[in-house]
């Protein structure tokens, strides 16, 4: 049984003059447990909207998303989210950011600290527990954001271009770290990106979306062995294949 099912989800935005934009058109997808799924597509293909609907921050115009057979009605700590922009609370220290969700659930202080320690160590920022976000680099901030989402022990981790604002080198390092975390925590990860390279490096499953209206154009299972080598011919082959599919998706519009 699949854990997360996206069932005929459509999203229509209505503008002031009665003009409508179809952001998502009849998206259906079953996502298995512990799978790493990347959504790729050009901007405007609705990939962020889809992620926001799964998070419960937006509602679908029709269709629904179910997690463990429970329809998603609003935001829930079961689905952690890492945003593209730096979303750490600047008035809280690194540690207090990580324990925010636990505090909301009323977890005792001592347990909060233990959990914070676990995830601080996981993202390698234990010595920065008392720092404020402004003192951290972009990559470090996103590491804390990942730790903050994981501390809530979600079933699914949603990531909306989390490394989009980072330089190429940091980005590659973050991708490797994310895979380590994924193997350690065994979470289902839904990851939005517009970088094919990133998707091929990370994903078990790549979902290609086409724009206006946002539709699933193709789904590719990436069977490359992990850890993957960016420079290997096999990697390049998959990359070329995905890029080709994306192009033909746009042409067939």
């Amino acid at each position: 049984m699949s854990k997360l099912s996206i069932d005929h989800v459509s999203k229509v935005f209505e503008k002031n003059h009665g003009e409508v934009t179809i952001a998502l058109d009849d998206i259906s997808l079953e996502i298995e447990d512990k799978e790493f799924v990347c959504f790729v597509g050009p901007s405007g293909c609705g990939k962020t909207t889809l992620l926001r609907i799964i998070a419960g921050l937006d509602t679908a115009t029709s269709g629904e998303v179910r997690l463990m057979d429970m329809p998603i009605r609003g935001p829930d700590p079961k689905r952690g989210m890492v945003f593209q922009e730096y979303s750490l609370f600047p008035w809280r220290t690194v540690q207090d950011n990580i324990t925010f969700g636990l505090e909301m659930r009323g977890v005792p202080k001592a347990d909060q600290k233990t959990t914070a320690d676990t995830y601080l160590n996981m993202v390698g920022l234990a010595q920065f527990r008392g720092a404020y976000p402004y003192e951290l680099s972009g990559g470090m901030r996103q590491r804390v954001a990942i730790a903050r989402a994981l501390a809530n022990e979600p079933d699914v981790l949603l990531m909306d271009e989390p490394f989009g604002a980072l330089d190429a080198q940091t980005r590659n390092a973050m991708q490797r770290e994310l895979l380590e975390i994924w193997e350690e925590t065994q979470k289902t990860i839904l990851f939005v990106t517009h970088s094919v390279d990133e998707a091929v490096f990370l994903a078990d499953l790549i979902v290609i979306l086409s724009p206006r209206p946002g539709r699933i154009c193709d789904i590719i299972r990436v069977d490359l062995a992990r850890p993957r080598e960016r420079t290997s011919p096999e990697f390049a082959g998959v990359r070329r294949y995905v890029l080709g599919l994306m192009n033909s998706c746009q042409l067939s519009q």
Binding site: G56, P75, G80, F83, F89, R92, T93, G101
Partner: protein, 262 residues
């Protein structure tokens, strides 16, 4: 290192020099050009008057009374202004309903409220406090409102996916801390305006003590040296309140922010 030290030394020395220069010029002008204690008391006249007042022990009462008026006014402004500003910034209907009233009342100068302050509260400290309140209330309200209005949507969404979903919790854990820099800036402006309203309030409301009150009494008695003493005290204490508040805010409330804050 050496260059840096001479730099800080210079930064310390220059203000002392400039103040000394002004005092010397003041003394010379008063003593040799104006030569009229009523028109312009000299620095030494003022210093003498200050020492006499200090010895009489009444300055502490004047200061205490003024601080009470100020405290009543600013305290009430915070107590009413912050919650109202929060509600207006957070709930759109609240803003639509309250905004027209506020826009009509806001341009009325605080001193125009003096007649009603006296009629409602009599010649009491509360009446003086009320004038300070009118001056301090709007900056607190407006800044709290705009702080709450400007809470980044991203922080609210991040909190919601982390399980902070009820409006009261979102206000407490997200909006209030996010709006704190703006609120603190509002309080600082409010204290400045309130302090300025203080003198006028005390002029009209009377009482035995109060820095503004004594400034006026000294004038009626033509003790112009005392007037200058009270003027300078009002200036220095106003500055002290501002500096203390800023130090508290930067050190405790907003240490998560870099650089100059309010």
């Amino acid at each position: 290192m050496d260059a840096k030290r001479t730099h800080t030394l210079r930064n310390r020395l220059l203000p002392v020099l400039s103040i000394t220069a002004v005092v010397i010029i003041w003394q010379l002008v008063a003593q040799f050009i104006v030569q009229n204690r009523n028109l312009l008391p000299s620095f030494t006249d003022v210093l003498g008057a200050f020492l006499v007042l200090l010895e009489s022990g009444r300055l502490a009462f004047d200061f205490g009374t003024s601080l009470m008026h100020f405290g009543i006014g600013v305290g009430a402004a915070l107590l009413i202004g912050i919650p109202l500003g929060m509600a207006m910034g957070w709930f759109r209907d609240m803003n639509t309903a309250a905004n027209p009233i506020i826009e009509i009342l806001r341009p009325i100068p605080p001193l125009a409220w003096i007649p009603f302050a006296i009629i409602w509260f009599g010649l009491t400290p509360v009446a003086a406090g009320f004038i300070v309140f009118v001056g301090a209330f709007f900056p607190v309200l407006v800044n709290t409102y705009s702080g709450f209005k400007g809470v980044p949507k991203l922080f609210v969404e991040a909190a919601r996916v982390l399980g902070c979903t009820s409006p009261t919790r979102l206000i407490r854990y997200v909006a209030l801390p996010a709006a704190m820099p703006s609120i603190a800036a509002g309080i600082r402006i409010a204290m400045g305006v309130g302090w300025m309203c203080l003198v006028a309030a005390e002029l009209f409301v009377g009482g035995r003590y109060g820095l503004g009150r004594q400034l006026w009494v000294s004038y009626s008695l033509q003790q112009m040296s005392n007037v200058v003493v009270y003027m300078l005290l009002l200036g220095i204490l106003g500055l002290a309140i501002d500096v203390l508040f800023r130090r508290y805010v930067d050190g405790k409330l907003l240490k998560w922010r870099t650089g100059e804050v309010v």
